[in-house]
Each structure stands twice: as C-alpha cells, then as structure tokens.
Symmetry: D2
Subunit: 317 residues, 4 copies
Amino acid sequence: MTDEASGIRTYSFLGPAGTFTEAALAQVPEARGQRWSPVRNVGEALADVVEGRSDAAMIAIENSVDGGVSTAQDALATVGGLRIVGEYLVPVDFVLVGRPGTKLEDVSLVAAHPVAYAQCLQWLTRTLPAHAHVPAASNVASAVGLLDGTSDADAAIAPPGILDHHDVELLAEQIGDNANALTRFVLVSRTVAPPPPTGADKTSLMVELPEDHPGALMEMLEQFATRGINLSLLASRPIGDALGRYRFVIDADGHVHDERMADALLGLRRFSPKVVFLGSYPRADRAVVHYPDRYSDDVFVEARDWLRGLLSGEPES
Amino acid sequence: MTDEASGIRTYSFLGPAGTFTEAALAQVPEARGQRWSPVRNVGEALADVVEGRSDAAMIAIENSVDGGVSTAQDALATVGGLRIVGEYLVPVDFVLVGRPGTKLEDVSLVAAHPVAYAQCLQWLTRTLPAHAHVPAASNVASAVGLLDGTSDADAAIAPPGILDHHDVELLAEQIGDNANALTRFVLVSRTVAPPPPTGADKTSLMVELPEDHPGALMEMLEQFATRGINLSLLASRPIGDALGRYRFVIDADGHVHDERMADALLGLRRFSPKVVFLGSYPRADRAVVHYPDRYSDDVFVEARDWLRGLLSGEPES
Amino acid sequence: MTDEASGIRTYSFLGPAGTFTEAALAQVPEARGQRWSPVRNVGEALADVVEGRSDAAMIAIENSVDGGVSTAQDALATVGGLRIVGEYLVPVDFVLVGRPGTKLEDVSLVAAHPVAYAQCLQWLTRTLPAHAHVPAASNVASAVGLLDGTSDADAAIAPPGILDHHDVELLAEQIGDNANALTRFVLVSRTVAPPPPTGADKTSLMVELPEDHPGALMEMLEQFATRGINLSLLASRPIGDALGRYRFVIDADGHVHDERMADALLGLRRFSPKVVFLGSYPRADRAVVHYPDRYSDDVFVEARDWLRGLLSGEPES
Amino acid sequence: MTDEASGIRTYSFLGPAGTFTEAALAQVPEARGQRWSPVRNVGEALADVVEGRSDAAMIAIENSVDGGVSTAQDALATVGGLRIVGEYLVPVDFVLVGRPGTKLEDVSLVAAHPVAYAQCLQWLTRTLPAHAHVPAASNVASAVGLLDGTSDADAAIAPPGILDHHDVELLAEQIGDNANALTRFVLVSRTVAPPPPTGADKTSLMVELPEDHPGALMEMLEQFATRGINLSLLASRPIGDALGRYRFVIDADGHVHDERMADALLGLRRFSPKVVFLGSYPRADRAVVHYPDRYSDDVFVEARDWLRGLLSGEPES
C-alpha cells in the first residue's frame, strides 16, 4: 500500500510481468512509477486490497483469456469494502516468440497456456500444421520457460507485452483467431467516494432478486428503464446458497451522481434483498452517455421543488 | 369567506336547501353552525372559493344524479389554486313527496328533474303506471314548485333532505331504481397544506400524458405500481385542445406524506407535461390503506441512508 | 325490426324527432328511408334491439348533453347479445328558437332541459341577462312546448335539428359555451360478425380486472402496449357488486381482424375474469390507424410459420 | 453417425476418456454401448454433429472447469441446424492421483490443468504447502503424463472418472475448494422435433434485442412474464459485430409444446431481429415446473374458442 514516507503506491495485478493484466495496468496514468505487485489469482489481488497490502488491484472482469472472470464477479459480489475506480480494455492479441535466432519454419513444439492455445488454434493449424502443444501454466510462463531452460518447446504463445520484458525473438504477430476480441479489466480499490462524473461513466452493481417469480426480474429492470438508463452488461450468476437463486451482474450507463442513477439505486435498494454498489467510474471507451432530456438532472431537481411546494400548501405559480 | 370579526366560515354548495350536495355538506362537522351559501352550478361554487367569497365548496365528483360531474372534473383540472380537503358519500336515494294531505293513489302528474326521473322510472312505471312527467329545473325545485304554486304537479321526486326544509307529505321512500347507488362529493378549498395522514387517505390527481403512444399510459401507471400504490379511480378525459389528447383523472390510495406517494408524484412530475395535485385527504369510507411492507416509509428512509453512505465513500457496515 | 315482407329496417333512437341522437342517426346512410323509432331512454333502445323490435339502436356513449352516458356504458357491459357496428360524432351545438314572429329582444322566459341550460349559461347571461329559466323534459320538448301551448316560455334551447321538424323562428345559433364539444354516438345491433376492416377502425371492450391489486391494471394495459395498440378511451366504472371493484371501458385503435388486436384479445381473455367484446367498427373520424411495422399482420403470420417449423423439427431455412 | 448396418450411434465429447464431459455422457442411458468419439474442443464436437460424423455431442454450457463455456454459447447462437435434446449436471469434483505406489506425503510436483489447479489451490496450500505446479493441457492429460513418462510430476489433479480408465493410485478425494460446484452439460443433435413434454422441462433460446434502448430488454422479458414463465438463466453476450450489441442466452422453464411457451416464442419472434430456438428438453434436476393456473393450456384453448365465436358473430353463450 501507499508507503507513508515515500508516497509510493502499490498496485496488485495477475503476474508475472508481460500478462494482459499488466497491459491493462500500463493504461493507468497514476500507476506509472509506482510499485506493481504481481499475484497469482484474482482472490489474492482483492485480498491485497482489502487487507491493505495494495492500494488497488487490476482484475479481468469480462471475456478474459487469462480465465477467472466468474471468480472475479463472484468475489466482487461477496467480498465487502471494495470499489471499482476505473475500466480498461485490452485487445486479446497474441504473439509467437522463440529464443533469439529461432525461425518460424523451425518450430515444431509450441508452449502455451491451454486457453491461449485454443484461441490460436486456427492460425497454428494453418501455419504450423505439424506442431505439437506443450501446456504452460500461464501466458507468460510459456515464454519464460524458453529462456530459463525449463521448457523443451521451440516457441511460445504470449501477450505482446512479453517483448518489453524478455529477450525473445518475435516469430509472428496477431495470431489470435478473433481479431476483435477484447478483455475488459477493472481497477479496484477499497471503498472510496466515487470519482467525479465525466459524462462518459458506468455504474457497476450486483443485485439479488427478492424471490424466484416471473415478475421479479422485470421489476428490477424497470428501475432502470423508467429512468432512461441503458444497461451494457446483464448476467445472471447463481448465488450458490440454493438451487435457482441468482444474482445479477449489472453495468449501467451513467454515474451515481446523476440524479436518474441515484434514484434508480434507491428503487433497487427498496426492491432487492441485497444490492452491492461496486462503483461509478469513467468508461474505457470514453463514449458519452446519451439519454432522453426528460431524465436530466434539472428535471429531477424541478420535480423535488414542485413537491416541496405542494406540501407547503403555497399556491402553484 | 371567513368573516374576520365573527369567525364565521362560508361554504358554497349546489342549492337550494335540500339537495344531495347539501346532504354531503351536512356530513362536515366543522361546517355546522357556519354560513352555507347555495349556488347554481359547480363553476360558481369553485369561483366562490378562488375569488374568496367562500372558504370551501362542496361539489359532486363521481356518479352524481345532480349532473355536472365531467364539468367538475374538468374544472378541477384547469382552475388553479384549489385543493380537495375531504370526501363524502351520499346515497342516491329519492323520496316522492306531495302537498300536505296528498295521497299516493291520487298522484297523476309527477314533477322531477329529468335525470332523477330516469333514475326512478322503474318504480314509477310499476307504482303509478298512468303518471305523466313534468320536468323540474332541479331536484329541489321539483318539490318547491308544489308549495309555491308554480307547479301543477301532484307530487315531486326529491332527495330525502327535502323533508328537513319544507312542509311536504312523504308519499314513498327509496324509490330509486338502484338501491346501492352513491354519489361521491369532495370539499374543495383554496390551496392549503394537506391535512395530516390518517392511514385511510386518498390522493387525487389530474395527469396529462406526454404523447399519444401505446406505452405512455403504462409508463404513467408504472409510477404507481412500482411503489405499491393502488388506484381507486382512473378515467380518461379529452383535454379539448386537440383530438386524441387525454388527461387522466386519478384517485390513488394513500397520502402525499407517505414516502411511496411522494416518490410516485416525483416520478409523475418528471414524466408528464402536466400534473395537477388536487390533494390528499381522508377517505369517506375510512378504509385503511393496505400495502406491501416493502413500500413502507422506513424502507424509503433506509434506502436514502444507504445511498448517502455510498456517496460518502465510507465502508458499508 | 326488419319487416320481412317490405324489407324495411327499424332503428331506435332517443326521441322525439330533432334530438342530437336523431342527428347521429341521420349520418347513417343505410338508415335512410327506413323506419326510425323514437324511444325515451337508452335502456328502452337496447331492449328494442335485444328483443327484436329494432334492427339497431343509436345511443350516446361519451360526452353527451342528452345525459345517460354512464347508463349506456353500464348497459353495454351487462346486457348481452349486442354489438357496436358504427360510430358517429355530433357537435354539441344549440340554437335558440321561438314561436314564429318572436324577436330575440322580446325573450324573457327560456325553456330548456337543465343540462342544456347549463351548457348555454354564459351566452344567456351575456345576451339575455334578465331571462328566467323554465325546465323542460328534453332538448326537443323545450321547443315543442312553445308550439302546442303547454309552455309559457318565450323561447327554447334546442338542437339545430329542431328546425327540420317544427315551424319555429330561429333567434340565435351556436349559443353553446364550448364551441368544440362533440358527443360520440354508437350504432348497436344484435351480435353479428364484425364488418370488414377499413384501416380506420376502433374496437370497443369492457374488461374486468382479476383482483384489486396495483399490478393488475398495468398487466391489462400491457396486453395492448406489447402489441402496439393505442387506446383512445379508458375509463374505470364501478362494477357495482362490491366496493372497489371496477370494470374498464376501453376503445382501442384497430380491428379484431387485425392480427395484433386478435392476439391482444386472446391475452385479455386469458387474464381477465370477464371481457365483453362490443365490436370493431369504422371510426367516425375516418382517421387511419398507424402502428409500428413490427405489429403488422405479416409479422404475426411469419412468426406462426416459424413456430410451426420449430415444432416439426425441420432445419431452419 | 449411426452406422446403418450396425445401428450403432456416435457421440462426440471433449476427450480423452476420463473428462468431466465423459462423466456427463455416462449419464445418457441411450448412449450406453454406442460409439463415443473424443474430440479436442466444442467447435469440433458441434462440427461432428452438423457434418454428420456424430449423432450427438455433449458440451459444457455453464460453469465449466474444462473451460470453453462462452465459446459453446456463442457457437450455439451462430452455428445453425442444432438442437439441445438433454441436460446433465456433473459435480466439479477433483481427485489427486499418482503412479501406483505413490504416497501423498511424497508429492512435491503436481501436474494440473491451470483452471483445475486454481480450483484446488486452497486444498493444495493447506495439504502440500511446499508443492510446485506443472501445467497440463487438460484434466486428463495431467494424469496420463504420469503413466506414459512424459511428465516429471509426482501426482496429478484429475476428475474422478480417471480411476475408471487408468491404473493410478488415489491419493486424495474431493479436493476442490467449492464442494457445491456443478457443471451443466447439454446433449446436442441436429435439428429434430422436440422430445415430448415431461412436466419438468426447459427451453433454451438465444435472442437478439432490436435496438440498444432502455426498454428493449424489458419488452423481451415481458414476453415471458406476461405468460407466467420463469427464467432460470439470463446472460448477455456481445454479438461481436458492433460495440454495445448483445444477444441474450436464456433458459426458460417449460416446453415449447406448452401453450404459454409457444405463445411467448411467437411474441419473441415478432419482437426480435433474431431468435434461435435451441430446444425444449427435460431438466437435469427433474424439478416439475410450477406456474399459475391462469397460464395453463386450457386457458389458452378456451380463449381461442372465445375469439373464434366473436369473429363468427354468434351470440355468446
């Protein structure tokens, strides 16, 4: 965590150096020049934050090729005292690397994390039809093994960041089978007040439904729809305490400082047995949130003024 | 209006003495011993209030046999500065009366307001098959004409209250064709703060829809439904400025001091181009309003406290 | 009813000749040259139809100055075996008439049905400030009384149609206080198959809600909204069997032969303890019904074809 | 695929023998004694079915520790001509195995698929604090490597099914950190007619929303809610063609042969630019689907009969 004497802040991330998660952390301006602490999984990263060993943790939250997204979502729902303060997108983009001097045509044994291997299988089948696969423990371990002599492989599949940290030969770029794939990361700190709205914000929530009946989900979504709030993510996750009970992972367009979002949160809180507010933070894509004029802040303020007038008994102007 | 010197208050009602409207006014404890001012129609009654000639006016608002209900609803929607402060129910119950000494079997000519006549037609056809009808200008004028010599009729249809004011012979009671019919009246004053909630309250509103599209009405009703508020009256009335534009006359169970009702009013105000709050007042039937626990005041208060905590950045307890 | 030998059809209407209802009947092309049977009230008119004395009845259904609209709505909800086959609009437009030779400046005593009198009060107060009112049993009786010697009045308020039937002097036209007021009439026959759709149709229904709970009304309205159907009339009417139970009077844009309307009716029937279908018929204003393309007939047909394919197990094309 | 001469059917599954997927296939009575064809990933399994090499494929669809669930969901949404015909649940339950004669206390190097390794990390940390991890390509390859000499590890993490296929020493059972975890599998065939309803069925769908606006999701869910249908799975998945476009993965309680489900499918089809029906099939947990009486088949049938009567013009009985 922040070293009081030095003012240095600590950021936990899924290590080692060179992972996609590190690439996400590299997008955080205020993390530059600070201490980056590699950890082995998302649980460790969040524990670092909760227990004060780190100021923040970068974790994958959607469509990760490092795995663990469900774990991350469930952890955010159940571990208390956390707040998302930023969102970052990293292309799912792999390179093939070898020891210095290696040539692509010499590659027959390829080290790769099994998930990454599956993501590049079409390219490998096309380019190296005779190759064999050696599993690696992570997207970075695959390449590191080439250099430290622990792997017999001729080449490794790794994130592009590997080139910044290790003296490897680049054999091929952009070998992933889906050129548009992105992983979404969030930066998580202990509970803090939300950063000020930017107009291009997102609010993340975990919401449990009151009962397992047909109308409950709709009633939850009405809380957003009747305030003009769009959802960019909605997923049901089993709560785990009983079959058929679900919580919902929600990303809603807008900031808790927006009147319509604050009002929707009040509605959710009254409706749901459990709402976890994970934070309002700037969207990674910086896309400005659009909404009908009738949901703007001044409409809410005007309505409150009107109600206050009604209660006072003063004639309406 | 209240005479400053004497402290006497003035109440306008559709007169003359003996009408159903007077029977409604007789239900108002605080009107006893005050000045009762008979007027000729609802417009005059409301003008008395707005212009300060009366402290309050009693007007029929639903299912009246004195007529004029649409007029009353439209007037409340367009005349500003008014507030409903009480609700009263009067049975639609007619008597047949004659000059002193008249006997039922001698009746052949019956004076009656045309609407009252229609309400008693089955009884008349059965009891006095050979009778003829003489129209009267009001439910009281019918009986008064017998006594002042302006009417040739043998008997008159009138409200039971006629017996308190005029020396007439009661020929038959409860001659209305629908024994359960009730007229609903409201007592209207200038804008005042709502009376305190009693737990058995009603809130009256006029609401315009933003546009004539299929979803607008539902969106309006959601404002009530998502806060557990039942409606006891819902009627569309043409606004009159253009074909197909409607306002809605609404009676909702509960009081504006209830959190759920205040929140619904905020939602309506944000949604609608025009909401007229006509008042929260005790129901005539004193039926306690029931609603699910999840819409109770403390749930609203707790949600606000929770939101305040989120914004402060303090860890949740 | 239709005389078998002559082929003459019979139409009941609120008489006598000269009423607004007769003006509505005059708009029906197929009624020309047929037998028009004047009756005294809406109950009589509907009984004529049900019991076979008439082929159809013209009745006021909304905003009538002849009164009786609630009665008409309630009768349509409870009397079985009826179907609305046409809709007609008549301006609420009054004339002041006298005996031949009468001049406006000589008028001091005005005969008028009390409801009509209220509708012209502003004009009368302005034009004949010293006049007195003599009540009349109907909008036609007012004028007839001038001619047959039963009335002492100098002039009578009547519908414009009076000029076609009686030799009266026209003293003033368009004396109603609301120049835009319209009364809506419907032509009612015994149950028949609906007339073919014209593209500018309306469907009238009476619907009871399953229970008195906040969501029931919305659930009813969803049946229309989720099929893109706009409502032009919605009013709650007490059912009368118990306090707080309401039925809804509904006019919906479109024809039961439209797929979306038929589907909505199925949804209503499944939802409601009682749905009365009163008919699909051309709108009086001939305004073509617009609706989103996604609710057009071919979309419904295509969906059924698709479902049939799913059930058959044939691969989707 | 089914060998015409022998009548032997072929089932593809994620191999090799011993995987969780094989354990799911072992639950299928009709697969016993047939040909089981191990494949390397879900794409291969589905291609086998589409191209006729297999009669059916078993694939993990939710909460898999073999990975690939998003891939499976996306494949079902985009590959045509497939139908889910059965659902199976397999506990996520790991064993630790060694070469014959190995003892737990001698284990220092543990071979494991990285995802499985993460699932057992708490147990390993507690039981074998000094262990090191050797990654394996799959949950079975980990154990096979011990026996074929390709792995230096002392022990391997594997599914319990490994004991049925390989001569390994069982060192520890139930070493997964979450004792309640389940993976959900589905058996997929080419498009066939749905199996008959059992009363405990599930219907799987992929639905695209018409536009990215606040109300579209609610409108989709209303199709279920207004027919009393509960959803047991709802998840948004990016469609991939443009940012912010989502499809929804849906499991709904009930069978397409149920009237309410068929009607909901019609509503979805009319609403959505793309609905993929993946099948109606018995639930793995055999839990009978409960729903309000008002959504039973006979209510739908009765409503259709009623509508037919309306259209015919016959008087209602």
